[in-house]
Symmetry: C2
Subunit: 202 residues, 2 copies
Amino acid sequence: MAEALTGEAILVATEEVLRRYGPAKATVVDVAKALGVSHGSVYRHFPTKAALREAVTRRWLDHTHREFAAMSAHGGSASDRLRAWLQELFDRKRRAHLEEPELFETFQVLVKESDSIPEYHVGHMVELLARIIRAGVETQEFMADDVAVTAQAVWDATDRFHHPSHAPEWGDPHIQAAFDAVVSLVIAGLRYNRGPSSAGDA
Amino acid sequence: MAEALTGEAILVATEEVLRRYGPAKATVVDVAKALGVSHGSVYRHFPTKAALREAVTRRWLDHTHREFAAMSAHGGSASDRLRAWLQELFDRKRRAHLEEPELFETFQVLVKESDSIPEYHVGHMVELLARIIRAGVETQEFMADDVAVTAQAVWDATDRFHHPSHAPEWGDPHIQAAFDAVVSLVIAGLRYNRGPSSAGDA
DNA sequence: CGGCTGACAGATGTTGAAATCTGTCATCCC
DNA sequence: GGGATGACAGATTTCAACATCTGTCAGCCG
């Protein structure tokens, strides 16, 4: 026989099958066929179809996480880095949605299939945001009582520009202006934000 | 015969049929049956089923708009009024979603059926936000170059707490804390927001 | 022996024929 | 005359028979 069947080879084949057939039509039998084995063999490496799909998704997200971790280390003021990081995130998602809608849709479906994946992904992205904000707090460019809470608030406030359920709006020609307005508002808030109990300031 | 068949009576009957059967099962024949007329008569008052559904939705939204317009006039500082207005919006939607999920789902479907309805609704709500922000700018509590743009940014930044596609998250016990964090960040930004070109300030 | 196979049961998805619905309009009845 | 009716054509939905898929496992083969 040619090669030992590895989990890695199965993941690669599964990703290819998902790209070709989409999430609704891709079957374990297709994956086995692509590898020239019986579908029973696939179940020796992954307990269920759901686990297999989740492993593919996690591998892909880990790759993305590494790229954004590198981005959050780039130079400039904390505001500039934050704006650039959010802009890059928005640009990538928007481009993926507009230029490869089927692939974007596929990964959106995969991510939603599991509860733990979105948690994992969002947790990771918010931690990267927190790094930028923490740096800004250290140089006194930003104010934040609780960096973790603030980072989550920045993530939530920019939801419209990264949450896939808003993807249909990303083709709107005014969307970049809306992004700029929200990010400017958020950055202004970071420069002068004393947290949930700040209602009495002026 | 009992009464003349009016557009108003048809709207009331349609709303009842929608509540009872849901948006997928509610038919024009059901509406006609509820009114004791033939379905042909309904088409004398509304050109299509879509127009009928849209009229029901618009009537319901207009009612909501009136209530929120009243809210945005209440006293207190601009921050307090803004926070209270956003909280009321969030509370109503969250309660509707958690306590009457089927009815909430029904109206969500109706709103999405038309392109003009969401535009109409969001435009109206953003205008109400703009009124509160404008009052804040006049008392120098807030800063905003362009109130309309800023109001839209506030709406967008709080999307997670009013856009129906985020409804599944509204049952999360931490959601109120997330809401408070975002609103605090936004209000801090309004106190010190010079618009999209403010990246060079300090 | 140990990974691989393929037949199998129950679950899930597909398909096409039958039923229902939408929108029209010639006709009816007050 | 003018609003209401109900039969009708084409579009959409439902439903059940059929096909495929998932996950298991006893047995095969290197």
